[in-house]
């Protein structure tokens, strides 16, 4: 099967970036866009899961002082910190993989390509309980996924060369009373690919392209956003992803 390969990122505008993600999902769901594999990055942002409250998850003062954008995605799961050392990718497709509503199967199917990719780089990667990939117990990839109208979306953040001190400072550890202890705890649980194998973003990208081509049996063909996707992304950007109710509270905004 042929997939569109999208290299569309807005590093300084994570709001538009996540609006674009939802726009692609919607257009694939409507059968107007082809199945898609996308790479993108954000220069300085916390991305929250859709059921999270910013005030519970991040050090807002630190975020403000360091101009860290706080944006919510439309999938569940936990908060992540993105800088240019973090590589995001997404797989958005009609369900031609027999997933149904089996979300666990969706994760295991979609994580395989990444595990293979990392192993190809000599990294002893293992898939975790559900939505992460670890090396010696430390997380290098965290993913979130959703299913709607027989359409699948899987997106993941890969720690390649991220500033882990910033990550550990801006993200709160639940239940931790002492900030110092919290930072230490997060730092013990995550690591960068660069620190493990020396590989940077270009090599990880190549490995993921190979890994997913093989694991999903797909051919990636370079493409761009459709006009409909661009229009929809613009609308979602204005009416949802830049709204305080969406990003900071826990309001459901469903435009589609």
């Amino acid at each position: 099967m042929e997939f569109r390969f999208l290299d569309v990122e807005y590093p300084e505008n994570p709001y538009l970036s996540l609006a674009t993600e939802e726009a692609i999902f919607h257009e694939v769901m409507r059968g107007r866009s082809p199945p898609t594999f996308r790479f993108y990055r954000h220069s300085n942002a916390v991305i929250l899961g859709c059921f999270q409250l910013a005030e519970q998850e991040i050090d807002s003062e630190f975020a403000a002082k360091n101009q860290i954008h706080v944006v919510k995605r439309f999938t569940g799961g936990g908060a992540v910190y993105h800088d240019l050392g973090n590589l995001n990718f997404s797989v958005i497709t009609r369900d031609t993989f027999g997933i149904g509503l089996n979300v666990k199967k969706l994760y295991s199917t979609m994580i395989e390509g990444a595990v293979d990719a990392f192993k190809g780089l000599g990294i002893p990667a293992e898939s975790g309980k559900l939505n992460d990939v670890t090396v010696n117990g430390k997380k290098i990839l965290g993913a979130a996924a959703t299913i709607r109208e027989k359409t699948l979306l899987f997106h993941a953040a890969v720690l390649v060369d991220t500033n882990l001190t910033t990550l550990a400072t801006v993200l709160k550890v639940p239940g931790e009373k002492l900030k110092d202890k919290g930072v230490k705890t997060i730092l013990e649980r995550v690591t960068n690919i660069k620190a493990i194998s020396g590989h940077g973003i270009p090599e990880v990208r190549r490995a993921l392209i190979d890994g997913y081509s093989k694991a999903l049996g797909i051919d990636l063909r370079e493409g761009g956003l459709t006009n409909e996707e661009k229009e929809l992304a613009k609308e979602l950007h204005g009416k949802k992803y830049t709204k305080r109710e969406w990003n900071r509270e826990r309001e459901v905004i469903n435009l589609l």
Partner: protein
């Protein structure tokens, strides 16, 4: 009165904050790093809990009915949700 609690499911945390009168839920908000599909159904779940008593049987029924509409949540079970909601009783 405003009460809140936190519950650790197999994977991830469920955080409940609620306005409770006696043992009856006046309003409730469920937040955390779980997965629930379709996502916007969280609002229906919260709405369906308003006016319900904080006892296991009543909550099992309400949450069970919610799940029977085709909800999937790979990181938590129905039972996790019920336990998380019951957890606010410690603050009542």
């Amino acid at each position: 009165m405003q009460v809140s609690s936190m519950y650790k499911a197999e994977k991830g945390l469920i955080k409940i904050s609620a306005d409770v009168e006696g043992e009856t839920i006046r309003s409730i908000r469920i937040t955390g790093d779980f997965f629930l599909i379709p996502e916007e159904s969280i609002v229906e779940l919260e709405r369906s809990l308003v006016g319900k008593r904080l006892d296991e049987e009543a909550l099992n029924e309400t949450v069970g009915r919610f799940y029977s509409t085709g909800i999937v949540s790979p990181s938590m079970t129905k039972e996790d949700l019920v336990k998380a909601i019951l957890g606010v009783k410690n603050g009542v």
